[in-house]
């Protein structure tokens, strides 16, 4: 004979509530994953563009200084600016390659007055005084234009911030719904055992004794259901990285819909949170039931 029988009977018919918890955990894991991906994408985009400067030198119009002289002057200015780690002239052929899709590669194109480009990289963490650089550039090369991608970057930042905040919002809503589901399921389960709770109370059991007899069960049930939901979501994301390895890109430009190992680790939070919500709900419900009876 077992030394101790469970005070709480095995639930029959509670299965559907466990399914609901698993589904909510699945959705919460998906939302959490989407948020992690959005955050990573935003970081990648920004580090790709931030810290880069481009100078265009147009075929001379405003001055008599020849194009090549202006290019070299601009390069000297860039290299002499504090905070710039690296500056180079983009070879003419690359510029031609850039316009090839639109203009073709006829000899005629070579006759066109194409601007020449200079690429510069800002040292990580360094600040470049842009207005001053702009001033010096126009003095040295009157037909040059400095582009710090600021406008593009600002819009990109706005976009990613939007994505991240909506992901937070979705995650918060789903977390709320999951918490409500878990606590509803727990209370519904307990309702079926109200008689046992009252009887134990009548026999002189302390609230903590009664709560302990029940809460652990709901903790485990929610942990298992939550783990199943999170595992399904993790499978989906692993499937995404499988596609990526196979060279299939879901949506061009967007980051691949996969999670790194550390990010998958975050999904563990979902079942853990579900189980603690269940445990606390069970305890609070029992204490509330007990406080209502004499």
């Amino acid at each position: 004979m077992k030394p101790r029988a469970l005070i709480m009977p095995r639930d029959k018919g509670a299965g559907s509530l466990d399914v609901v918890i698993a589904v909510m955990a699945f959705l919460a894991s998906l939302a959490l994953g989407a948020m992690l991906i959005a955050e990573r994408a935003a970081a990648t985009w920004q580090s790709g563009l931030a810290g880069r400067l481009t100078v265009q030198v147009l075929p001379p119009e405003n001055s008599a200084i020849p194009l090549q002289a202006q290019i070299e002057a601009a390069l000297r200015v860039l290299r002499g600016t504090s905070g710039i780690a690296h500056a180079a002239i983009v070879p003419e052929q690359e510029t031609l390659d850039l316009v090839k899709p639109w203009l073709g590669s006829d000899t005629m194109v070579r006759e066109l007055p194409l601007p020449r480009l200079l690429d510069a990289t800002v040292a990580p963490g360094a600040e470049v005084d842009l207005p001053k650089l702009r001033q010096r550039l126009s003095a040295a090369a009157p037909d040059s234009l400095l582009d710090d991608h600021g406008r593009w970057l600002d819009r990109l930042r706005g976009l990613t911030r939007g994505i991240i905040w909506s992901a937070y919002g979705v995650l918060a809503l789903i977390a709320l719904a999951t918490a409500a589901t878990v606590s509803f399921a727990t209370r519904a389960g307990l309702e079926a055992h109200k008689e046992i709770v009252e009887l134990l109370h009548q026999m002189g059991a302390h609230s903590t004794f009664i709560a302990r007899a029940f809460e652990w069960h709901y903790f485990l049930a929610a942990l298992v259901a939550g783990a199943i939901g999170a595992a399904l979501a993790a499978c989906l994301y692993l499937l995404g990285s499988g596609l990526e390895l196979a060279g299939i890109e879901a949506v061009p430009f967007l980051p691949p819909l996969t999670l790194h190992a550390t990010e998958l680790g975050w999904l563990l939070m979902v079942p853990v949170a579900a189980s603690w919500i269940a445990l606390l709900t069970a305890r609070l419900s029992i204490l509330r039931v007990l406080s209502r009876i004499y």
Partner: protein, 223 residues
């Protein structure tokens, strides 16, 4: 042991179910609580086993005034009371053994130490071979004996039984009464609510009679 002074009781906003009830149960006494159906017997027992609060008057248990001691102390008081409910209220999912062991678990005794006590008590009520049986597989009389074993296993100072012979034949009723008398000899104060006249006449005990929520007679042991 139990002392009621001018106790009144009503459920919610309903009419008064008990009115101006005053009595004392002495330690070691054996008392029947009688009266017509609806007189308030079960209600009186509920007040004693701390399932309901009185709406008037004062109750003291084991020498402490309930109104003064407060709810945090009730679990300890409840553990000194064994109750045989009219409908048994067994744990359906627990075996006979685990049902009877529950008061000891609640008291914090460990499984090794109470096992022998529970088995002995179950064989004393004639259920030595039904230790692992679930209540649903037992007859009404067998369930009743489990309920009684559970009520007495922790050696309560006070034993309350509500119509403990309501569902059994007269022979079984007599046997159960003998059981209560044995316990009473060991020092437990016993209070039994019943309207079974033959039961009352077979045991020499004090009788308290409730009619319409009032105590009408405090009889002494039947002469």
């Amino acid at each position: 042991m139990v002392r009621f002074e001018n106790v009144g009781m009503r459920y919610g906003e309903g009419r008064e179910v008990l009115r101006d009830v005053t009595f004392t149960l002495d330690p070691g006494s054996f008392t029947f609580l009688t009266g017509p159906s609806g007189a308030g017997k079960s209600t009186l027992l509920k007040l004693i086993y701390l399932a309901e609060a009185p709406s008037g008057g004062s109750i003291s248990m084991f020498g402490v005034d309930l109104a003064k001691t407060g709810r945090p102390n009730f679990p300890a008081l409840r553990r000194r009371i064994g109750v045989v409910f009219q409908d048994f209220r067994l744990f359906d999912h627990l075996s006979a053994f685990d049902n009877v062991a529950m008061p000891l678990r609640i008291a914090g005794r460990d499984a090794v130490s109470y096992r022998r006590d529970v088995e002995e008590l179950l064989s004393w009520v004639g259920l030595a071979d039904r230790l692992t049986a679930l209540p649903a597989t037992l007859s009404g009389g067998e369930q009743q004996r489990i309920a009684i074993a559970r009520a007495v296993v922790a050696r309560p100072d006070l034993l309350l039984a509500d119509e403990p012979t309501g569902n059994v034949d007269p022979d079984m009723g007599q046997r159960l009464i003998r059981l209560f008398e044995e316990l009473n000899k060991l020092g437990t104060t016993v209070l039994i609510a019943t309207h079974d006249r033959s039961l009352i006449e077979s045991a020499r005990a004090r009788e308290m009679r409730l009619v319409g929520g009032r105590l009408v007679a405090l009889g002494s042991p039947a002469a």
